[in-house]
Amino acid sequence: MSDRAISWLSSHKWILAGLGLPILVAAWWAFRPERLWVNVKVDEPAPFNSSADLQPLYTGLLAGRAHPTSGRASIYQAPDGKRDLRLTDFMTSNGPDVHVVLAQSTDESLKQDFVKGQLNNVELGLLKANQGNQNYDLPDSADLSRYDAVVIYCERFHAVFGVAKLDKF
């Protein structure tokens, strides 16, 4: 920059500041960069009475493996702490010795239609019906942070009918 330009700038710095400041303010207003570090937390109650009613904990959609399977698997907790699994809009094919179990979603054997060896699982009971809404009690010991998948499982042939990965509600 030439000396002349520098002297022009220094003699007109107030004009420049007067122009620059509104630009800075406008940029701040538009981008609000401070919000990158400022969090706003809220904690509104659920629209239902959560202390006196069933609380949904986890939910997931069933995907078919060896047999077409669809619907939703959700885990609810009652006010007394008891948990149960509820299947809704549920549909699978009927078969022999079909159980509802919890397994680990990271289990490689769930990626195939048939499990080689034993499936590491928590038994919830025989499948009550291959269609319709149904509930299953969860054992108090079931650790849902580890067993985070619902599997419709044919024990006799080690066939995975369908799997639902449970996500936090």
Partner: protein, 151 residues
Amino acid sequence: MLPRIKLALAFASLALVFGLQPSASAQESAESNRAVRTLETGSFHGNVHPTSGRATIYQEADGKLILRLTNFKTSNGPDVHVILVAAKDADDDANFLKSNTPRVELGKLKGNEGDQNYEIPTGTDLAKFQTVSIYCERFDANFGAAPLEKF
């Protein structure tokens, strides 16, 4: 003749075990008579501004629809709104102004973290508006979207 009958019987019993199990249908109710029904739910995905959590639509006894965000987290920003968009899902870099996607305004985002509720205007067609978006109106930037599925 006798071996044939035996064979037929063997086939019949096999068919009973494998094929002819009747289709059974259950209709258990949720052990709850809560007046508020859960209609739809979905999980947030977002990349440009990491967004996570769950969006659920409830219907109260009087028919009013409520959107509730739980385990929710996004980045804070200017002029961020909660909207419903007429799409099955939204790309992480979606611009609903450019794509001319119809949307329903639910209000300014109350907080970038935590559980929060928004009223859905009466008459909103949930069959059409299937995705929740956390949307910066000023820059038409989609912070995150949650495609809703039937609960």
